[in-house]
């Protein structure tokens, strides 16, 4: 069974490479054989009809060979298409895995950064409560709050960027060809409070 498949594969390989040559050899062999047969016959004089019927199957043979070659070409095209789909699916899975990993890292990173930010935010709140009348201290606290807000926006942007990439990768299947990958700009900061 296995050797049969191997032979079949080899035959297809030869057909792929030398299809036209094989068809030509086949047709011209037939033509040669038919011509020899014609001259070997005992009737030296032949009518036009006689000549025509002597070579009538030649046209059919040409047509059959053309049809065969076309069928082979179609099968080859289909195999290539299947292979392309398989490559796309592989590439899609690989990108999905990469994005999931990136999402995990982003989640860990935001968690790790947000804890100290919460400490700063809560401490600033307590100081504000204690120095309610001191304008100088309040002005410094405003600076801290502004910086905290900016950091929150950067983290939110970063997370949104990753989320957008994941959603996009799931919604559209990427092409395996290089240079077809899209990049996404950061989104506008959203208010986080």
């Amino acid at each position: 069974m296995l050797s049969l498949q191997r032979i079949q594969k080899k035959v297809y390989g030869i057909l792929d490479r030398y299809g036209i040559v094989i068809a030509g050899v086949f047709i011209f062999s037939y033509y040669l054989w038919t011509a020899l047969d014609m001259f070997a016959t005992s009737h030296p004089r032949k009518s036009f009809q006689g000549y025509f019927f002597q070579f009538d199957s030649l046209i059919l043979l040409w047509l059959l060979l053309v049809a065969g070659l076309k069928l082979h070409e179609y099968r080859k095209k289909q195999n290539n298409e299947n292979e392309r789909h398989r490559m796309i699916a592989l590439e899609y899975e690989r990108q999905k895995m990469q994005l999931n990993l990136l999402d995990d890292v982003t989640t860990l990173l935001t968690d790790a950064v947000n804890n100290p930010l919460a400490v700063i935010s809560l401490s600033a709140g307590s100081i504000r409560e204690r120095f309610r009348t001191d304008d100088e201290v309040l002005s410094f606290l405003d600076h801290i709050d502004g910086a905290l807000k900016r950091m929150r926006e950067v983290l939110a942007d970063f997370h949104n960027y990753e989320t957008k990439k994941i959603i996009n990768s799931v919604a559209t299947r990427p092409s395996p060809r290089p240079g077809n990958q899209q990049s996404y700009p950061f989104t506008q900061p959203s208010p986080v409070d």
Partner: protein, 131 residues
């Protein structure tokens, strides 16, 4: 006398210290737990009005503690807090019975208002149950 007693579960020592200081200024009584195991042990010993619970803890997910509270002490309010962004855990928490889900970093005002709101809701519900 304390307004309410709160179990604060978070693995970050500094954050626990700051949250404790912020809440004690408002007369809340605070008990701290740095892990799921300690939190569950505390919950076994005494009852709390509210549990402030971090999701990412060193010995497991805070959702495990949330489940235990929902089973053992259904009258206790649980407020989840996390530094991670994402809806998955928020949805899971609400499904498991958390009353609120706050994301770090939060301001002291925001935290106090959220706790106040949660306790008020609890009082209203209990009042309706007794009437």
């Amino acid at each position: 006398m304390a307004i309410a007693n709160i179990l604060l579960v978070d693995d970050d020592d500094t954050l626990r210290g700051v949250v404790r200081a912020t809440l004690e200024m408002e007369d809340y009584e605070i008990v701290e737990a740095p892990s799921c195991r300690t939190a569950l042990a505390m919950l076994g010993k005494q009852s709390f009005d509210l549990v402030l619970l971090d999701i990412h803890l060193p010995d497991g997910s805070g959702l495990r503690v949330l489940e235990a509270v929902s089973e053992r002490r259904p009258s206790t309010i649980v407020m989840m807090m996390t530094g991670a962004v994402g809806l998955d855990n928020a949805l899971k928490s609400i499904k498991l019975g958390a009353s609120d889900y706050i994301t770090k970093p939060f301001s002291s005002n925001y935290l106090l208002k959220a706790i106040e709101h949660a306790l008020l809701t609890k009082d209203t519900k209990e009042g309706l149950r007794h009437s």
